[in-house]
Structure formats: C-alpha cells, structure tokens
C-alpha cells in the first residue's frame, strides 16, 4: 500500500521539458568540469592500478582483509541502523509534532555534529573505560569478579560514530517531513490509518530519498573514518589502508584499497537507485505540526533530551571541564587567529561547494543523460575515501601541474611559483571531499520541484540561469541552508586536507586539536575542540533562526 502517494513516473506523460539543444551542451560542460575537479583523487587512485605492489595484496588477503571487511560491514550496518532510527524519529517529532522544547531541539540536536568523532570518542571512553570513573566505581562495589558490561571496539566505534553522524540524517530528513505536504497525511487518515500507521505507510516512503541521502552520507563518512576506529583499535578497511601506507610504506596499495571502498559505495548507491525506481516526490500544501496529548508530548521531550544528553551534554561537559582546567596553559592570543581561519575556510568552502553542488544537480536535471548522471555520481564519491588518501590524491595532480608550469612556462625565470600552496587548492580539495555532503540534500530537494513549474516558467520564456535564480533558488532555500550548514561544520573539523594543503599561517582549530592529540595531550586538546563547537554554534543558530 505504500505507493499510494507515489505516482509512478510511467503513469505521467513522459515528455515534460520542451526545451533541449543549446544550453544542453552548456550543462554537459558544467558537469564534466565539476566531475573532473572533484574526482581528481579517484583518477590518481585508478592510476595506482598500473603499479605493481608485489605480494602486499596476498598478505593483506590472508591476514588483514577478512577481519577488516567483516568489521567494516558491521560498522556500516550498525551506524546506518542507529543513525536512521535516531535521525528519522527525531526529525519526525521535530518537524510534525508540537511538544515542549521543540524549537530548542530543532537546533540543539545538531550540536554533536560539530564535534570531531575522535574527540567525542575520547570523552566517552574516559567515562566508560576500565580506568574511567564508572568502571572504577563498579570494581569498588563488586570487585573484579563481575565484569563490567563493556562495549568493546565494535560497539564503541558504532556508538560514537552514530552519535556524531545522526544529525546528518536528522537535518536532511526533517526537510523532507517539513515539506512533504499535508496531502499524504490526509490520504492516510482517509484510509483509516492511525498516526503511527500513517507515518509508516505514507510519510516514511515519501521521505525515502531524503533518508537515503542522509544515511548515505553517514555511511560514507564512517567508511572514511580513521580517527575514531583507531582510538578504539577497531580494525576496519580504513585502518588496513593506513597500515599499508604507513606501516608497509606502500601508498600505491593504499590507493588501490581505497578504490575498493569506492566501488562498494558506488554499487550500494546504484542498487538503491534501482530499487527506488522512477518515482516522483513533488510537494504540495505545507504541513502544520500537530498537537499531542500532554503525556505523549512529554515522552517525546524526554526522548530528545536523552539523545542530546548522551550525544552532547555529557561528553561536551567533560570536554568543557578539561578545557577549563588547561585553559591557562593552552589559551593564547593565537586562538583568535585559529578561530578566524576556521570560520573563513569553512565559510568559503560552504559557498564554493554548495554552488558547485547546486550547479551539478541542476545541470543533471536538465540534461539527464546516462553519462551525465554517472558523472555526477562519480563526482560525489570522494566522501567515502579516507581523508589522508584523498588529500594526497588531490595534491599529486596539483603538484604535478605546478611542476609542469615551472618547468615550461617559467623555465626562464629564476623564481619558483608554488601553485600547490594557494588558497584555491585547499578549497578545491575540500570540494573533492565534500561535494556529496552538499549534493545530497540539494539533489533530493530538486525532486520537490514539479516539472510543471518549470514548464510554466518556460512558457513564459524563463530558462537557464534566470530559471535557477527566480524559480529554483527560492524553493530550494531550506535545502541550500541545510547543505551549507553540513559543509560548514564538516570543513570546520576537517583534518587531513587542511594539514596537507593549507597555506602557511592558515592553521585551524582542528589542526590545533591534532597537534595536541598526536602527542597524547588529550586534556589540552579539549580547548580547541570546544572552540570548534562554539564556532560551529554561530552558523547553526543563524541558519536555524532564518529557517524558522
């Protein structure tokens, strides 16, 4: 019964878009350009296939990969499940129900996203591990005979990553629920469904592209994660990649392994697309949040509070405590510079990446050939590549270009032009990594725009850039805000690309966290970590206010 609200595309007249031709080629060019820039690291990885890496693969197959693959699948399954359950349920409540604290939770539940996973993991570990207060207290009460029910590397990694990643699903799905309109709910009611059945049979299927977009981001992020799983000694595909590079000194086999990750993600996404089929998800009249019985409303408030407490209040409280204790040691005037750099880089990256993602999605919508759709998929795969591998994958071609320019165009000059250390390099590298983050929400939001609207605009002679500016942008605004926020926060905590490509003097707060944690100075690292959260609050508050 779930497709009552989804009109199969077959049922609709096929041809909706009358114009073709001229600007078609322009769209193709845009798609190629963005895809080429964003997939530069992938191309470098592909080149690695031509390198002989000796018997490393045989060794990995025998001793490393079976465990790594199993653990990775476990991690993905766990994180996908928990982020989907948390993200969708919280989004549903916040978007459609009226309960105490609703608008507060609307932005507060996003906060865990601003914490780097490994920082949250370290804080949670400090509370829950053997030497932490809980287990020490437990041993004092029960002795060592009764083991504390620990989570182990798998559980701890899944929990930590789920807590930092559920906001992706929450943010994107909330958009879906808020805009999917009242018609579906009415249909559900007229079918005699209870609100719960209505949610399951109508609203949930209608929100599917958004849920998939959010969960895909969470999955890709956790496939690429190294910091968190390393903290919990959980061997995954990513740790195998780093082991090949750092331990076996083989960057080439690390690149080859990354390709396997990319292929996995690509096939999962294509599979989902096939199952989704050619449905349409256009919007109609807006939905107003409905009132609940006080007891229900109270329960929902409690649920939201509980998630917020474990994912943010508890760990952030501990981090805040550490940062207060180490403040005099750690804080100096340099911090203002770090914060300014962080905000500038994140802001510029958000602008660039959202623009590129919007252009990409819009171009593919208007020129939806098979090759264009494939290109847009490829352009967004960088998100699943472990950060350091992606960073070097982007840096290698840029540095090669720089060498070429110096060897040919500037051969007569005694000066060296360090092209590779420009600010544009770091921003484009961010794009290679985070295009997916902006593309997800924007692409699904474009589904909301009925082709009828475009047809009407065309009828009035509006097309191309004017169509985008006057028709799409206003409708897409909430999705653009979502995309910008996600990119902004991601870039703020980004490390490997920032480390490798930042120009001199462009250290960020995350870089400071890295400096301290690599030396095991976790408590001192609390200050820059909390500073990221505070800096991240600025856009969260500004955008959420605008959005409401």
């Amino acid at each position: 019964m779930s497709d009552i609200a989804i009109i199969p595309a077959r049922a609709l007249p096929r041809k909706h878009l009358p114009r073709r031709g001229e600007d078609h080629r322009g769209f193709g060019l845009i798609i190629w350009l963005i895809a080429l820039l964003a997939s530069a690291p992938l191309l470098v990885a592909l080149l690695s296939l031509f390198t002989d890496t000796g018997d490393i693969w045989a060794h990995l197959f025998e001793f490393v990969l079976p465990q790594a693959l199993f653990n990775t699948l476990l991690l993905v399954a766990g994180v996908a499940t928990i982020t989907a359950v948390l993200g969708v349920s919280l989004a549903w409540f916040v978007a459609t129900c009226e309960f105490p604290g609703r608008s507060f939770f609307g932005w507060a539940l996003l906060l865990p996203m601003a914490m780097p996973g490994y920082v949250l993991g370290f804080a949670l570990a400090a509370i829950f591990e053997y030497t932490g207060p809980l287990q020490t207290g437990w041993r004092e009460m029960f002795g060592t005979a009764l083991a504390f029910p620990g989570l182990g590397g798998a559980g701890a990694s899944i929990l930590t990553l789920s807590l930092v990643l559920y906001p992706y699903v929450f943010l994107i799905t909330r958009q879906a629920f808020a805009t999917q309109g009242v018609r579906g709910v009415e249909v559900a009611q007229s079918c005699g469904y209870s609100p719960m059945q209505g949610f399951r049979k109508v609203s949930l299927p209608l929100a599917r592209p958004w849920i998939v977009a959010g969960v895909s981001l969470a999955i890709m992020e956790c496939l690429a994660d190294f910091g968190t799983v390393q903290l919990f000694n959980f061997t995954t595909f990513t740790t195998a990649i780093y082991r090949s590079w750092y331990g076996l000194f083989s960057l080439q086999s690390a690149l080859q392994l990354s390709l396997v990750l990319v292929v996995l993600v690509m096939s999962a996404l294509l599979l989902e697309k096939r199952f989704r089929g050619a449905s349409r998800y256009t919007s109609n009249a807006m939905l107003n949040p409905h009132r609940l019985q006080p007891r229900r409303a109270g329960l929902i408030s409690f649920y939201c509070s509980a998630v917020l407490f474990i994912a943010f209040v508890l760990p952030a409280g501990l981090i805040l405590y550490w940062s207060v204790r180490t403040f005099s040691l750690e804080f100096d005037a340099h911090y203002w510079q770090l914060a300014a750099n962080t905000l500038m880089l994140a802001g510029m990256a958000a602008l660039l990446i959202c623009s590129a993602a919007l252009l990409l999605a819009f171009a593919v919508r208007n020129a939806p050939s098979r090759i264009n759709r494939l290109l847009s998929r490829i352009a967004t795969l960088g998100y699943a590549i472990p950060g350091t591998v992606l960073a070097i994958g982007f840096f290698v071609p840029v540095a090669a270009l720089s060498r070429w320019v110096n060897a040919t165009l500037l051969a007569d000059s005694d000066k060296v032009l360090a092209l590779q250390s420009g600010l544009s390099v770091i921003l484009l590298a961010y794009m290679a990594r985070y295009l997916a983050v902006a593309h997800g929400p924007l692409d699904s939001a474009l589904l909301r725009i009925s082709p009828n609207i475009e047809d009407a605009a065309h009828g009035m002679g509006v097309s191309g850039a004017r169509l985008l500016a006057n028709v799409h942008l206003p409708i897409l605004r909430p999705a653009i805000v979502t995309a910008a926020l996600l990119v902004f926060v991601d870039v703020m905590k980004e490390l490997p690309i920032t480390l490798m490509t930042r120009p001199f003097g462009w250290d960020t707060l995350a870089v400071r966290v890295f400096q301290l944690t690599t030396e095991g100075e976790w408590h001192r690292a609390a200050l820059p970590a909390i500073a990221i959260v505070v800096a991240g609050l600025v856009p969260v508050l500004v955008l959420s206010r605008r959005n409401n």
Binding site: L33, I34, H59, V64, E129, Y130, T131, T136, T144, G152, G153, Q230, L231, N233, T235, R243, Y246, G247, L248, F249, L251, L351, L352, S355, A356, L359, T388, I392, F395, V396, A399, A400, S402, R403, N406, S413, K415, V416, L417, A418, L419, Q420, S421, G422, L423, S424, V425, L427, L428, L499, M500, R502, F504, V511, R512, Q515, L516, E519, G520, E521
Partner: protein
C-alpha cells in the same frame, strides 16, 4: 631568491576555478643591496607537533634573526608531499619522529647528504644516517614498565622475556599500528632474525591481559589500575604521568646489554633535496645539535638529548643509566615492512 608566492582566489562565487597569482615575490631583487638583506627564512615541514617545536624555533629566531616558517602534518603525508612537489617545494628541512620514517624519506630521495663537522661531532654515529641524510635530534627509549605492587623486577629481563608464559594475562601492549612498536619489532628482527622474533611476538600476544591500547598513556594508567602488570612504553609518557603523580606505583625497567639493551628511537631531521635555502637549513640543524637547543629538545618532552654531552632533565636522569641497543636506528626503517607483516601473521593487532 625564490620564495612563497601567494595564490589568491578571485572569480565568481559560483566556481572558483581560476586562481590568479599575485605578483611573484615581494622581496628585494638581488643586486639592490644598499641595506643588508634580511636573512632568508628557513621553511620546515614538521611531523613534530607545534607545541614541541615552536619554543625551539622561537629561540633560534631570537638568537639569529632568521625566521622559520613551518607547517605540520603526519610523517607519511609530509614525505609524499615532498615527493609530489619535487623542485617546486618550499621546504628546506624535514623534521620528523621515528627513524623508520627518516630512513624511508632518504630511501625515497627527498633528502640530501649533509657534510657538517658540527653534526658529526655532536650526534653519535648510530643516531645518524650512514649517508648523512638525516640526524637524530632527540632520543626516546622504549622500555618495559611494571607494577611495583605486584612485580619483582628481578623477574624481568628483556623484551623477549615478556613472551614467557609466566606473564600470561599480565602483559599490556599498545597497538601494532603505532610506528614505535613497528620499529621495536623491526630492530628485534635485525638483531634476532625473523623466526625468533615471530616466536617472541606470538608469545606477547598469548600473554596479553586485554586488547591492545591506542596509546602509551592509557597503557600505563591500566597498569596503575591493576588491569595488567607489565608493558612496553616510551619513557616520556611515563615521565608525564610521574610528574602529575610522583607516587605512581609504576616503574621503568631497563633491559640489560646482555639481552640486547634498550630499544631506542629518535626524532630527527634532514635537509630536503630541493631546498632553496640549504645553508639556512644546515645552520638550523647544527644549532639544534648544540647544548642550548638540545636541552630544550630533551627537556621539554622529557626525552634524551641526542648530543651525549648534554644531560637530560633531572627527573629523566633519576630513572637511571641504561645501555641502548648498539644497532643503528636505521634498522627500524629497513625492517619495518617485514615487522608489520610479522605482527599481522602473529595476530598482534
């Protein structure tokens, strides 16, 4: 004079593809030397954390007027970055931890040999590259720690001794993903051969009290909490905890020369192959091998100075004398890949 040009972003807000490059170089052109030119800055790529190197660089600038520009990252990314940049690199000096990484950098050809009497005089032969491409700046000892409440130190011998079944359920180890352990096992291979080393590592794995730890600090804290009784750590991590709690019931044990001595590793530096300012880099390197900097390098992080004429921090000295392994630290790099494979086979995660 070829130094940094900034590439600045222009273009529309939509797609910043074209980066125009602001005019090359802002420095005085050569020849117009009416005023004495400011010394050329030295550019450092550092895998040592900022808080450890900045005080030393600041001291150098204060003393010589030479400015130091640095950027930090992990070891392998920095080496790959140097490789990718080739001649266009801005880096004059590579500063990193672990002899394995320095060995690899030299092997990949991103460093250049340096002839310097000062460095030869200050840095012992087994703590520098046989080809003079890198030099130790500080020494870190990776040794055994034990619980003073339950362990009789006469029971302990060397690293191999920890494979003895009597330590079953009592040993804690840090993850084999950390290069420190990879270097330790690599030097064991150099010393004892692959077969014997694999037996030892299998013995360790069989003795583990719990899953491996993500870092040395957690490991020492676990011994303190009674989760295990012996372990292997870098001494400065123990030093930091001892500073916080002088009564910590954990002590260091030094394996004797007869059992191979104490495994040492280094932090070190080498001049990059395509350095524009190699002279400046060598001068900095030489200065860092002299007593003032050596005291800072050793003292601030509770490591051992690489220059044997310089005494370590009093607290470090109080841990007692030890016999370092006589092997050249380069073995750590030479056998690192073998060590990683060996640990994979032995199930040491």
């Amino acid at each position: 004079m070829r130094k940094i040009r900034s590439a600045r972003i222009t273009g529309s807000s939509l797609l910043v593809v074209i980066s125009t490059l602001s005019a090359c170089g802002g420095e005085t052109p050569p020849g117009s030397a009416a005023v004495p030119a400011a010394p050329v800055p030295v550019v450092v790529y550092s895998a040592r954390a900022e808080q450890l190197i900045k005080p030393i660089f600041d001291a150098y600038t204060a003393e010589t007027g030479v400015e130091i520009q640095y950027t930090t990252d992990s070891e392998q990314p920095l080496i790959q970055k140097l490789l990718a940049e080739g001649q266009t690199t801005q880096a004059d000096l590579l500063l990193t931890v672990d002899a394995g990484n320095l060995w690899y950098a030299a092997e990949q050809g991103v460093l250049r040999p340096v002839r310097s009497d000062t460095l030869e005089k200050n840095i012992p032969a087994n703590l520098q590259d046989p080809e003079n491409q890198w030099f130790a700046m500080s020494v870190r000892a990776r040794t055994i720690v034990y619980d003073t409440r339950t362990v009789d130190p006469t029971e302990l011998s060397g690293y191999a001794g920890l494979a003895d079944p009597k330590w079953k359920g009592k040993l804690c180890l840090r993850t084999s993903a950390k290069v420190y352990n990879q270097s330790l096992v690599a030097t064991l291979i150099a010393e004892l051969g692959e077969q014997r080393t694999e037996e030892i590592v299998r013995g360790w794995v069989a003795n583990l009290a719990t899953d491996v730890f993500p870092n040395d600090t957690k490991l020492i804290e676990a011994i303190e909490a009674g989760q295990c009784q012996v372990g292997i750590v870098n001494t400065y991590y123990f030093g930091r905890l001892q500073k916080e709690n002088p009564a910590i019931p954990v002590k260091l044990f030094w394996p004797a020369a007869a059992t191979g001595g104490v495994h040492v590793n280094i932090s070190g530096a080498g001049v990059t192959r395509h350095a524009d300012n190699a002279d400046g880099a060598i001068a900095l390197l030489e200065w860092m091998s002299e007593p003032t900097a050596q005291r800072m390098l050793g003292g601030d992080n509770m490591e051992y100075p690489a220059n044997p004429a310089v005494a370590a921090d009093p607290m470090v000295v109080a841990w007692g004398e030890y016999s370092p392994s006589p092997l050249n630290v380069a073995a750590a790099g030479e056998f690192q890949a073998d060590a990683v494979r060996l640990m994979d086979r032995a199930g040491y995660r």
